[in-house]
């Protein structure tokens, strides 16, 4: 039995404009020690997936399908039961440490909260553990800093405090939603190294959500590429980056300016772009979400959902024109 398994997970958002399927048919399974990356551009549904996994989907959302934690179905669980799981078995590192931390409480109290709530530690024991956690995530002089307020820390330190909070109860699954977007690259590298180290050390499973291809390439073993609410490609990250199959993945990889390329290529070279723009979730075409932006689009792509095509090594992608796409060298495909 997998630790965390999603099967045909779906999130529908109900708004005054109608119902938007923000996440469709999302399936994956995670074991202890697994690392999974979710990648996609704004509005592709990756953050909504994270919220659904934490039972935090907004009030106007309907979550359907199946989500199990060690076999226990989580969808439809009452709030009270979710509260016992959240922060205890499943924990999340949010994007914006300044908004996720409460500015009027000392950081020590915020880290101690899940410990008191879930592990019923005494105030004193919880404080000691908070100090140990702050020390573990690399906050210097933790015994004194435990009584500081969030604004007294730098951006990188605040993200370290978020990590300490998420780790307090030694969760089984850690979900990190764009944990370093607000940080400088050198700090980003330290924070990810810390997350990876802690995931290793405690045998947690990690779900890393990012729009940054490089970050995913370097930090997770498996990845899902999301587009328009659905997973268009999945596989070992080494495979997906070495042999991207879906035209969207190829386009995304090609559009990223690369330092390595700069060393060999000329300055005036143009970046390949993806024509068109992201589909409106409220009026998604019945077929492939990428139809219309894709150079291989044929009539059937627009009307019928794409079949899933399996490649060696559990690498899959959803495409009606897989034979043509796979027969085309990546560079040409990306340029189209």
């Amino acid at each position: 039995m997998p630790l965390l398994e999603a099967r045909h997970l779906r999130v529908d958002l109900h708004t005054h404009r109608g119902t938007a399927p923000a996440v469709r048919d999302m399936s994956f399974a995670l074991e202890r020690g697994d690392t999974l990356g979710l990648i996609g551009e704004s509005g592709c549904g990756k953050s909504m997936t994270a919220l659904a996994l934490m039972g935090l989907a907004p009030d106007n959302a309907t979550v359907s399908g199946s989500l199990t934690l060690e076999g226990r179905e989580l969808i439809g669980l009452p709030d009270r039961d979710w509260r016992a799981i959240r922060g205890f078995r499943l924990a999340m590192i949010f994007q914006e440490p300044m908004t996720a931390l409460n500015p009027v409480h000392r950081v020590g109290a915020q880290i101690a909260e899940p410990l008191r709530l879930h592990q019923h530690l005494s105030a004193h024991a919880a404080r000691d553990k908070a100090i140990a956690l702050l020390h573990r995530v690399g906050i210097p002089d933790a015994a004194r800093r435990v009584d500081s307020f969030p604004h007294q820390f730098s951006g990188g330190q605040r993200q370290r405090i978020m990590i300490a909070m998420a780790l307090a109860c030694e969760p089984d699954v850690l979900i990190a939603d764009e944990p370093t977007t607000a940080l400088d690259v050198t700090v980003q590298k330290q924070i990810l190294a810390l997350i990876r180290e802690l995931v290793d050390e405690r045998g947690m499973a990690l779900i890393l959500i990012s729009h940054d291809l490089g970050l995913i390439a370097q930090n997770v073993k498996r990845m899902l590429v999301m587009y328009g609410g659905s997973v268009v490609e999945s596989g070992a990250s080494a495979d997906v980056f070495a042999r991207p199959a879906h035209p969207y993945t190829r386009g995304l990889l090609a559009a990223r300016p690369s330092l390595a390329n700069r060393l060999v290529a000329h300055r005036s070279e143009r970046l390949p772009t993806i024509a068109g723009s992201v589909p409106d979730l409220f009026s998604l075409p019945p077929g492939c979400p990428f139809a219309g932006r894709c150079a291989y689009t044929e009539a059937a792509c627009r009307t019928q959902p794409p079949p899933v095509v399996a490649l060696p090594g559990d690498h899959r992608f959803s495409c009606r024109r897989a034979d043509v796409v796979l027969g085309t060298p990546e560079s040409i495909a990306a340029d189209a």
């Binding site: 704004s42 300016p257 330092l259 390595a260 700069r262 060393l263 300055r267 723009s277």
Partner: protein
């Protein structure tokens, strides 16, 4: 004042900028930070300059000084040989036509209650006194040069995507046909595929309209794509500068190497 002796489009000479912090105690003088601690930089017309550095390194302060939005504590900024911060107000106003800025936030930098044409034409109206008819015509031309249709003129910012809004901001910067555009993290907020479109647009403007960019970013890969030269800033100083390929290939300063190593690449970089 002896003018026009600088061979550079933009010459920054030993500039410092000090900010006084809010007073913490009645009995002590308020603390000060030095955002720039002696920066010198030359930008040649036609060779776009990239500035990379992390938060707090002084990149944006430098941008504000170059745009003459504030004055340096010491040192001079020469634009085409003229000291921007010593110009009489009317001359400075006239000079502003030659340097324009594109800001980071495509949501915050456009007035939500104004139709696009008024936002785009504002520099022409303010700096050149263009008539309303002229403003509309020129806004249409500027929008066209950034790949937007003329029917965008009467729309409002909320009707556009992030990438389109950044194109509108670029159109506004282009309308006075400037020689220099200062872009402060202008593509940082955009998705990869949209970022590629905007970078291509900037490369076209550079090649076809002869615009020189002072391109400020924390992203080395983006800077290296657009610029011929790069300056690396840290703690209010430029620690290294030179042609992009040379700096990437043989980074001389330890900090540049740290920056390069921190960029997560899709594959191991092919640096020898």
């Amino acid at each position: 004042m002896d003018q026009r002796q600088s061979p550079f489009l933009l010459e920054i000479r030993d500039v410092t900028r000090r900010y006084t912090l809010p007073r913490e105690s009645l009995f002590k003088p308020p603390a000060a930070v030095e955002a720039l601690r002696g920066v010198s930089l030359n930008v040649t017309a036609g060779r776009s300059m990239g500035i990379v550095g992390e938060s707090g390194s002084g990149k944006s302060t430098l941008a504000r000084l170059v745009m003459a939005l504030e004055a340096p504590t010491s040192g001079t900024v020469l634009f085409e040989g003229r000291n921007l911060h010593a110009l009489p107000p009317d001359d400075l106003r006239a000079a502003r036509r030659d340097f324009q800025m594109v800001f980071q936030d495509p949501y915050g930098s456009l007035d939500p209650r104004r139709p696009i044409w008024r936002t785009v034409a504002e520099p022409a109206a303010a700096l050149e006194g263009a008539s309303r008819a002229q403003q509309r015509d020129r806004a249409a031309a500027a929008l066209e040069s950034v790949g937007l249709r003329a029917d965008a003129l009467d729309k409002f910012p909320h009707e556009f995507s992030g990438g389109q809004r950044q194109r509108i901001a670029i159109a506004r910067a282009l309308i006075t046909r400037p020689k220099l555009i200062v872009a402060d993290e202008a593509v940082s907020a955009l998705d990869v595929s949209v970022q590629a479109q905007v970078l291509n647009l900037m490369a076209d403007l550079r090649d076809q309209h002869g615009v020189t960019f002072l391109f400020i970013s924390h992203d080395l890969a983006v800077v290296s794509h657009l610029c011929a030269d790069v300056a690396v800033m840290k703690g209010g100083l430029i620690v290294e500068q030179g042609p992009v390929r040379q700096v990437l290939r043989e980074p001389a300063h330890a900090y540049t190497r740290t920056l390069l190593e921190s960029v997560p690449e899709l594959v191991a970089p092919v640096v020898a």
